[in-house]
């Protein structure tokens, strides 16, 4: 559910990074934040309580153009993947315009990835949504690690819908903006 600010001629879209703990969601956000010019972005905010944590910032990509004369502002959100933050993860999905599932490419994390996808589907269902009803892409992160699962195997295990998927190394940057652009296309395609 994007919201429009007619006064400033902006469309605001909420993008949520989802995935298991330590898969690199925060690293994705931090990389985008660091590489975005100060004029185009708001502050990176970390809200933390004992039971809730949220990290987010907003920015206006200059290379996306406009939609019906309106500039597009993205609000990028993530929550920790740890099990005990499930309430935060559920809440953060409310009103999301697009989802990026960040998978950890290491073999020992395959089960955690699958559990996280299942958790995402469960939490989406609370809002009467499904993975095939919202703009959704998958990122296979940590491709720089010495021992990684081949992409075809990850795709078979984590991306049965065959949505656009991307390899990435969020720590150094490759694939981070490709993933976001991939999702942006889907989100904006719905609006145009």
């Amino acid at each position: 559910m994007s919201f429009v600010n007619h006064m400033s001629k902006e469309i605001n879209c909420k993008i949520v990074y989802y995935g298991p703990g330590l898969c690199g969601k925060t690293t994705n956000l931090q990389y985008i934040f660091e590489k975005t010019s100060p004029q185009a972005k708001g502050k990176m905010i970390s809200l933390a309580t004992e039971t809730e944590r949220t990290l987010f910032f907003d920015f206006m990509p200059i290379d996306l153009g406009t939609v019906k004369g309106f500039k597009v502002r993205f609000h990028l959100y993530t929550v920790p993947g740890q099990v005990f933050y499930d309430a935060s993860r559920k809440l953060i999905l409310k009103g999301a315009d697009g989802l990026i599932f960040v998978a950890d490419s290491q073999p020992e994390r395959l089960e955690a990835n699958q559990e996280s996808v299942a958790n995402l589907e469960t939490n989406l269902a609370e809002y009467n949504l499904r993975l095939d009803s919202v703009p959704y892409v998958v990122q296979y992160n940590k491709r720089d690690m010495p021992n990684v699962v081949p992409v075809d195997e990850l795709r078979a295990a984590l991306n049965p819908l065959r949505v656009p998927d991307f390899e990435a190394n969020a720590r150094l940057g490759p694939g981070v903006f490709d993933t976001l652009k991939g999702l942006s296309k889907l989100v904006l395609g719905r609006m145009r």
Binding site: M1, S2, F3, N5, H6, M7, S8, N12
Partner: protein, 188 residues
């Protein structure tokens, strides 16, 4: 802190008139000067700091005033009040639409988060105090600052970096000035 106010002994139209008068002829440092509000309103669309400050001012006013719900007639009354203060910058319909947009923003990002972001646009002591004064005036435009609105003012004060004494002082200055105008029969 006891920031609740009740001017319901006065007719609604008289309260609105006194609020409008106070917005247009406020003593210095109470609320943003009407001339500056109008100038900032005309800056919208230019992507500069004054446009951002104006929009954030509208948003904090909305967020406080809607803390106890925001009926259609309240939104319409607030749009009418601001239209009269802002001159030709915005029509009533544009302001009414803007408050609907703000409601969508709250729905998506949450009230606290919207308030925190809007508060960030006031970066000096005077503008923070005036912003709180403006929010107070908008909240009291229907004659009552109810408990949820009072709590929203406290929360806004915290986001603006004001201490609880400063919040009480800023709110009390506005409501005292408004009370003085109401009891003296209108414009001071």
């Amino acid at each position: 802190m006891g920031l609740e106010i009740d001017f319901s002994e006065f007719a609604a139209a008289r309260v609105r008139e006194a609020v409008r008068d106070l917005m247009e002829h406020a003593p210095p440092a109470l609320v943003p000067a009407a001339s500056r509000l109008e100038a900032d309103a005309h800056a919208v669309g230019r992507d500069d700091a004054s446009a951002a400050r104006f929009q954030s001012l509208l948003e904090i006013g909305y967020l406080v005033a809607s803390a106890d719900g925001f009926a259609d007639e309240e939104r319409t009354a607030l749009a009418a009040l601001l239209e009269s203060v802002l001159g030709e910058a915005f029509t009533h319909d544009e302001l009414d639409l803007h408050f609907r947009d703000l409601a969508d923003g709250v729905e998506m990002l949450g009230r606290r988060e919207r308030m925190r972001r809007a508060a960030d646009d006031f970066d000096d002591g005077l503008s923070r105090s005036e912003a709180l004064g403006f929010a107070t005036l908008v909240a009291v435009a229907d004659g009552v600052v109810a408990a949820p609105e009072a709590r929203a003012l406290e929360e806004l004060g915290a986001f603006l970096g004001l201490g609880s004494d400063e919040v009480t002082q800023a709110v009390t200055r506005v409501t005292s000035e408004l009370a003085r105008r109401l009891r003296s029969g209108g414009a001071a």
